[in-house]
């Protein structure tokens, strides 16, 4: 480990589509999943991350490097997270929240789920069903009745931007 050898340890991470990434151990252990593997001595060779694709893993590593370069200043970390997520679309955010969950990175998980909530806040019910792949299991009568219960919440909904 870094402390024993005096030089920073680098880990190699492998995505589920066989891309390899080098990352400093100090940044990678933001992921509790990776930290546990390192502590169990499984990090000698390549660490396979079977649930994350290359594109998402590259993005997560950018985040790991970015956030670990910031000293303990919650305000600065928060503004880095905001900026990091600002230009990501829904599909990218969905991939990232899955990766953050699998990698057990609570700070990224929190930030991405808050960002997804912010994106969907003013969206229509149809948009949410399409983006989350949810089947409408109401009959038209049931759906109308549920809608009627909270009619005012349908005011100010944005026009769908996905079709």
């Amino acid at each position: 480990m870094a402390a024993e050898t005096g030089t920073p340890t680098t880990l190699t991470l492998k995505s589920n589509d066989d891309e390899l990434f080098s990352v400093a151990e100090s940044a990678a252990i933001l992921s509790v999943t990776i930290r546990n593997m390192v502590e169990d001595g499984c990090a000698g060779g390549v660490i396979p991350l079977d649930n994350v694709d290359g594109k998402t893993l590259a993005s997560v590593i950018t985040y790991m490097n970015g956030i670990s370069a910031i000293p303990a200043d919650e305000e600065k970390k928060k503004s880095y997270r905001d900026k990091f997520l600002s230009d990501k679309d829904f599909e990218t955010l969905a991939d990232m929240v899955l990766a953050a969950n699998y990698l057990n990175m609570s700070c990224l998980m929190d930030a991405v789920s808050a960002k997804i909530a912010q994106v969907m806040e003013k969206k229509s019910v149809g948009w949410v069903r399409r983006k989350f792949g949810i089947e409408n299991d109401y009959t038209p009568e049931e759906e109308a009745a549920v809608k009627e219960e909270h009619k005012w919440t349908f005011e100010g909904v944005e026009t769908d931007d996905d079709n």
Partner: protein, 357 residues
């Protein structure tokens, strides 16, 4: 087109992750998304979900401000330099005499005064527009000064009313009032609800001002010790700040106000010094009200109409105007699904709450 794209490679999110996301949405979106599917509806309607919903970061520094008599409220946001109107909120019957508030729920009545028992009341959540009518016991024998409080505990919601030498507690869970003897205090002030208790500043038998606490665990009253070195004749006030109870009073020559915050769940040695505001004008402590923090600065309201934002580092004030000067009281707004009697339908809810006495 969209469907085709989605069918190619998209993996959809598992429900436990969806739930994490839902908890971060405002109430209005959540109520709309009950229409998404039956399982979304049952998650969002679950009282356990509603209970944890308010624990997540709320849009900060939002307050309800009365519009003119019985015309509902403005929702305003306090920034460092201004009070900005965010929305107009219509309340049940337009009523805006809010008697107390707790966890985003207000006890509301008409501004026009009639006797306690013949009056109508609503418990109302402005962020979901949920409301239910409420009434006080007609034969409680109202005399002397009256104090009120509402509070939420882990599994109940209570309303407490105090009167000369006695008090009564309504529990939503048991759907009944319990009358108790022993209220050795006088004075009439709004109750402050924080972490499952209600606090008032009242005078005891020796005419000393005390922090009086209604503890929902035991349904008993207790006097809370004051911070160290605070004398019996000290004029102090209580407020809710940073989600906690704070105690504040003048120190020194009358131009400094010190604020302590109460440690949650502790009743002895519970005060921690929070901030001291120096070089303040010499006005009575009852005309000073700490409202919120904007970054590290504290916003205070002076003599109801003026707001100052104080920077404790360089000890400077910035003053800004209240654009709705008639609004005397500000109530903290919390966006939450929480409501005491959520699961009953409108019709049943009415008989549930008015048939108890």
């Amino acid at each position: 087109m969209a469907a085709e794209e989605e069918n190619t490679s998209r993996t959809f999110l598992p429900f436990d992750i969806i739930e994490c996301i839902l908890l971060k949405l405002p109430s209005k979106s959540l109520l709309r998304f009950k229409t998404v599917s039956k399982s979304w509806r049952s998650t969002i309607s679950d009282p356990n979900f509603a209970k944890i919903h308010p624990q997540f970061p709320n849009p900060p520094n939002l307050f309800l401000l009365k519009r003119s008599i019985d015309q509902g409220f403005y929702l305003v946001k306090l920034h460092g330099k201004e009070v900005r109107e965010e929305a107009v909120l219509e309340s049940p019957n337009g009523w805006n005499n809010a008697l107390c508030c707790c966890n985003g729920v207000l006890l509301l009545t008409s501004t026009y005064w009639v006797h306690w028992w013949s009056r109508e009341y609503f418990l109302w959540n402005p962020s979901t527009r949920m409301k239910t009518d409420f009434s006080f016991p007609p034969d409680f024998g109202y005399s002397g000064s009256i104090n009120l409080g509402i509070l939420a505990t882990a599994d109940d919601f209570k309303v407490v009313i105090t009167c000369k030498e006695k008090y009564a507690v309504f529990s939503c869970k048991s759907n009944s009032w319990t009358e108790k003897l022993g209220f050795p205090y006088h004075g009439s002030v709004p109750g402050i609800s924080v972490d499952g208790a209600v606090y008032w500043v009242l005078r005891d038998e020796k005419n000393t001002k005390q922090v009086v606490c209604f503890d929902s665990e035991t349904d008993e009253l207790r006097t809370l010790p004051k911070p160290d070195r605070i004398s019996d004749d000290c004029l102090f006030q209580l407020a809710c700040l940073k989600g906690g109870l704070c105690f504040y009073c003048k120190i020194g020559d009358g131009t400094a106000v010190r604020i302590w915050i109460k440690e949650e769940g502790v009743f002895e040695n519970c005060w921690k010094e929070l901030i001291t505001v120096e070089d303040l004008e010499d006005i009575p402590i009852r005309s000073i009200e700490p409202l919120c923090f904007v970054e590290n600065k504290i916003v205070l309201r002076l003599e109801f109409t003026r707001f100052v934002c104080y920077d404790p580092c360089d000890k400077t004030f910035e003053e800004f105007e209240d654009t709705h000067l008639f609004g005397i009281e500000l109530f903290p707004f919390m966006d939450t699904l929480f409501f005491p009697v959520m699961k009953t339908s409108n019709k049943r809810k009415r008989s549930y709450l008015s048939g108890f006495w």
